[in-house]
Point group: C2
Chain length 314, copies 2
DNA sequence: CTGAAAGCGCTTACAG
DNA sequence: CTGAAAGCGCTTACAG
């Protein structure tokens, strides 16, 4: 009876409803989640698994995920693997959640296949599934964003020798960005030069020494595209050390519109992604999956070009 | 039997152990968390409740909390209240966690008292409990940190008219900082001037207009102390607009060593707090409480003075 | 060391 | 609309 009142799915006589409500208030009754979960076979919980709690985008993403989970009536369980794939003990899965959001490098393929095989709801963030698994993916327009950025450098600032700092190979976002870069060159009949593709898109020190190296090697370039973290700071430093002016001699752009982009000098031209929105959308899709409703298998969020000064504008 | 092997608390014949292990592997058996929780009356889960997922400190704090929870064998359930106190439905409590970490403005006093009354483990972050509740608190040396910062301005840079930008009243950190400010003045026999205490320590626009106002009002000052978020950017802007040089005319310092502190110009002198460590410590204390072990009721983490250029050094 | 059973605290058909 | 009962899937005394 109490259960029926609490859940409100079955009609109950209103006088009884009231008496139960006052009793609940008096006794300060709080239903045990575990008993509910066990009996109903639903955890009402969404899991979030990622490799590392890090990066400037993270709070915004989490905010979207948390808000949307709560709005949908789900709790949020978070697990970070800290680089070690948890193959033996499963932190998040059918035993404690109704579905999970999976960030890159946090779940091995065996476990992903197992979850898929048992029909457990999974949504992938910023990574594609293996071909034979139709698991929904949420990501952003990495290719288009980079295309916009590189087009801008070429069309507005007449740059033609643009260094592309690539991220780690397993970073799928970075691969799409490289395709955008190549497309932009093709579009303007600029020959692709492998010397301009360098490693180190995701770390300040690495980015700095990479740029120093190509400057020493005498590689000619008039612009640099960078990726995550503080790589762009390393680039600024290396260029300053060699007396190259930004943006006069070398334009610099960055993909993610990180917080300090407005504040460093010259202010960075970037691509801004709707990070919180991406998080929300991921949870929405996951909830649809859980409910057995239809979903989009790929949701690619549009990004925005944020023009400041490092490209040469203003 | 299976249960005994899984939990390993009771000795079991080794041949049997092996057979059970292989069976578990073959069947891909994963024990239901809910059944375990219900039977054992332990959730093995730590709850984190906060008002808003935001702020530059957040990822570091969460990283510490998550890592330490996992290390202790606990899951992490996160709930943000988004400003609305959840008085009716209890998101986190004895029904779904073994203990909770409570950030400011996320749990009302009634619920805090209720949890205390039933002996439910709670650790407060950056806020003191009401006098009659002995609930452990984890925070940082706000007073000492500010003292160090103001002492530095007075002793190394001969500043005597230091504007203190205060945060919201309910922000306990900010109150301690103000005490540190006052102590530093007293220490050097500098009279306290209420005109130098202004609102707006936690927002760029507010900070900017506040400084513009006191400049218009002709208030004399040679330094500014700021608090959270991007207030310091607003201060820089206002001073630039009025042609005041930083740090020559006005030194500027900030409490938290936010990410962009190194990158803006002039680079900010700040106080750095061991944020991840604070998160870890909070979880450690909570686990001690859960296990009924003895704990420190107040753990005040030391902070560090990070000298850059905005104070006038170098 | 182990088997059989009770019990954790709910939800949910089922019969009325 | 409602009462009584089974059952969710584990853990944990209990007796041996």
């Amino acid at each position: 009876m109490v259960s029926r009142v609490l859940n409100g799915k079955v009609p109950v006589e209103s006088e009884k409803v009231e008496r139960i409500h006052t009793a609940i208030a008096e006794l300060q009754f709080v239903p045990r989640t575990a008993a509910r979960v066990l009996a109903s076979r639903k955890t009402n919980t969404i899991g979030l698994i990622l490799s590392e709690i890090d990066g400037a985008f993270f709070p915004h993403m989490l905010k979207g995920i948390e808000a949307e989970s709560r709005a949908g009536g789900y709790e949020l369980l978070i697990h970070s693997t800290q680089g070690a794939y948890p193959n033996q003990n499963k932190p998040l899965g059918e035993h404690n959640t109704d579905g999970i959001l999976v960030f890159p490098s946090s779940l091995d393929l065996i476990e992903l296949r197992r979850l898929y095989a048992i029909g457990f709801p999974v949504v992938l963030m910023h990574q594609s599934p293996p071909d034979e698994l139709s698991i929904p993916v949420i990501t952003i327009e990495n290719k288009d964003g980079t295309l916009m950025l590189i087009n801008h450098l070429i069309e507005k600032h007449a740059r033609r020798r643009i260094v592309f700092m690539r991220g780690p190979d397993e970073h799928e976002d970075s691969q799409w960005r490289e395709r955008g870069y190549r497309e932009a060159l093709e579009l303007h009949n600029i020959p692709f030069d492998p010397d301009l593709i360098v490693m180190g898109g995701f770390d300040e020190e690495q980015a700095c020494s990479t740029i120093q190296q190509i400057l020493k090697d005498g590689v000619e370039f008039d612009a640099v595209f960078t990726g995550g973290d503080d790589a762009v700071i390393g680039v600024y430093r290396a260029l300053n050390d060699f007396g190259r002016l930004i943006p006069d001699n070398v334009a610099v752009v960055r993909f993610d519109d990180i917080h300090f982009a407005r504040y460093i000098s010259p202010a960075l031209t970037t691509i801004r992604a709707p990070t919180e929105e991406v998080g929300r959308k991921a949870v929405q899709q996951l909830i649809h999956l859980i409910r057995g409703e239809s979903i989009e298998f790929i949701s690619l969020h549009p990004v925005e070009l944020i023009i400041r000064n490092s490209c040469g504008c203003n």
